[in-house]
Amino acid sequence: MVQLVHEGGGALGAPPGTTGRSTMEWLVRRAESVVIPLGAVLVGLALFGVFLLIVRWDSSRSLGAALDEVWTAFELMYTGGFGTAFSIQNTLSRAAPLLLAALCVALPARLGLVVIGGEGAIVLGGLAAAVAANVFNGAPGFVGIPAMAIAGAIAGGLWIGAIGALRHYRGVNETIASLLMAYIAIALLNHFVEGPLRDPASLNKPSTAPIADNFWVGPIPGMDVHWGLIVGIVGCVLAWILIDRTTWGFSARIAGGNVRAAQIQGLPVGRLILVFTALGGAFAGLAGMFEVAAVQGSANGSLNVGYGYTGILIAFLARHNPLAIIPFGILLGGIEASNGLLQRRLGLPDASVDVLEGILFVVVLLSETLYGRFRIFNPELRGSRA
């Protein structure tokens, strides 16, 4: 296990104290974990601008024209992600599975586990939900939809929980195991969708039988965004309460900081690992269920489009804090939503969003080294030679 979350002095410490001074100090310390990730995002975006400047260099253009193009790219990212009511709804629809996928990384990470195979839980959650829809075909919606959700959550929970079990009982490295299991899950999806569960009517795109009309999850009233967004936000809040406000969460944070100390204290490290991995997997499974019940209408290859991998980046951007996952998930949803516009207007390849996400990821990890170095956030450094 590795220590993934480095809690600053104030983060684990007492909530705002009684005196004005300590409240101020608490706020200032907390500000560090807001300012540094935001700064990292800005640096990452700037580096992406430099990347565009270099790869689209054309000696016949002036530097000003090249800079103009980079600026246009950022403007398009904003317009495509957040500029209009339509693009905001598009962004929020994309954010829904990302929030749930990020929880699959963030929850185990609080215990020091790097689980990167959330894609597998999404894929199998979607497949299980489609199977449940088939089994409950003919039942009313208030039976069928929960059945799909439960099936998706159980499938995802078992899949990622198994990785936690392997880690705890056999000492199998969870990072590699989770990614291998994601590939196995995708193979299972392809096998069932193109074999035993294939709907003969799905010619161009092999799919399972479509779910019944009354099993479709509709939009949130007044918006064109499905309920998965609300479930994702509620999931993030619940996960935050679990980690920050319960004994279980406290134990998990101790174990994530120092597993030996936790064992000596008699904390149930094994049970914590199983619960946190299974819970994370259940959230990712729900993401797959909403893709089936609100977007695709059946399980097919579109379940495997990389939500799990973007979720890894979001969890690390949020430093595995479930509440911070919400804004970062929406930010990344916006970046992905604007990709089409960038392709159409600037002729960028669709992989440019992958490049941007890779750059952001590297910069965010590098920013970890800055914590505890700024005197403004760390009063104890003042007076001493920093």
């Binding site: 590795v2 993934l4 291998l180 096998h191 991998y309 690390f316 390849p349 669709d350 750059i359």
Partner: protein, 330 residues
């Protein structure tokens, strides 16, 4: 002819496949062995592999096309084809190795900063490497590049399947030689000793006056060279074209394979053959007409890797031969 050998054909195809498919596993795992022996783990080799495949192929395409154009400019009647320019493929391998070393050195330098986690950074570089490969690789999906040369070792037999199975690529032979050289060098040379000391006990290495971060950065860079070459093999020999699905986890399986091989380069060779055989099982069964469950057979290498990890890991005892500073074994 096909029916004469029947199921033997599957076995021959698996053996031939093991030789063909194992080379990238071998190169990536040898590279990762060097990196891990120095005490760091680089999960980014998957991205390095994909980027190496792209840039190796792209280099070979551009070079050979330029040479064809040159030849035609000199004499428009000459019959030339990009496939004639084998040396373009070799230059592609070289460029892929250089690109890999850049990825490795970046990983090494960034990990030298305090509190930067090597596993997480590897994931980031994996995403960045594949992203960059897809970004620049679009124009190379269609064009044809020259292949790396293969040596026909099966001409003694008149069974075409055996001849096909024993067409051995030069890189495979180089990989075997490298495995033995590396095994010897890690044990018997000063450089090997420095790498092992840094990987086993950073404090002891510092006390001896070695720059731990520098050694690790160079070891990660060397690992990147190997992974880049492994990628070039994928695109320039087998499967022998560039597309976005070219790797699907082979770089990652190779990292798991290093653990299975107990950080022993010769063990990496055997493990790579085993994984290559597993990877060849799906296509081999398909070739004799087994079409049921193709996807499940294609998942055999992942299942095998996972099974081996479960069998060889242990909760209580440290793995024999594991470098002491390695984060995944602590």
């Amino acid at each position: 002819m096909e029916s004469d050998i029947g199921w033997w054909g599957v076995l021959i195809a698996v053996i031939g496949g093991a030789i063909r498919v194992s080379t990238p596993f071998l190169f990536v795992s040898l590279g990762e062995t060097i990196t891990e022996k120095a005490g760091r783990i680089n999960l980014g080799l998957e991205g390095t592999l994909v980027f190496g495949a792209m840039i190796g192929y792209g280099t070979a395409v551009l070079l050979s096309e330029a040479w064809v154009a040159n030849a035609l400019a000199a004499d428009p009647t000459v019959r030339v084809d990009v496939r004639m320019y084998e040396s373009a493929a070799w230059i592609g391998v070289l460029v892929a190795g250089v690109a890999g070393s850049i990825f490795g050195v970046v990983h090494g330098i960034l990990c030298s900063f305090k509190r930067v986690n090597d596993i997480a950074l590897g994931i980031a570089l994996m995403l960045l490497g594949t992203g960059l490969a897809f970004y620049f690789g679009k124009p190379f999906i269609q064009p044809v590049a020259p292949d790396l040369p293969a040596i026909p070792l099966g001409n003694w037999s008149d069974v075409p399947q055996i001849q096909a199975a024993l067409r051995v690529n030069v890189l495979f032979l180089i990989g075997i030689a490298l495995a033995f050289v590396l095994w010897w060098a890690l044990r018997n040379t000063r450089l090997g000793l420095i790498v092992r000391v840094v990987g086993d006990n950073a404090d002891a290495a510092r006390a001896l006056g070695y720059n731990v971060n520098l050694v690790r950065t160079l070891a990660t860079g060397a690992g990147g060279v190997f992974a880049g070459i492994g990628g070039a093999y994928l695109s320039l020999y087998y499967p022998g074209s560039w597309n976005e699905g070219i790797s699907s986890g082979q770089g990652l399986m190779a990292v798991a394979l290093v653990i299975f091989a107990r950080w022993n380069p010769i063990g990496c060779f055997y493990a790579a053959l085993l994984f290559g055989g597993a990877g060849a099982l799906g296509p081999a069964l398909q070739s004799v007409g087994v079409t049921q469950g193709t996807y499940l057979f294609n998942a055999a290498p992942y299942l095998l890797t996972l099974g081996i990890m479960i069998l060889t890991s242990s909760r209580s005892r440290a793995l024999a031969g594991a470098p002491g500073e390695l984060s995944i074994t602590r």
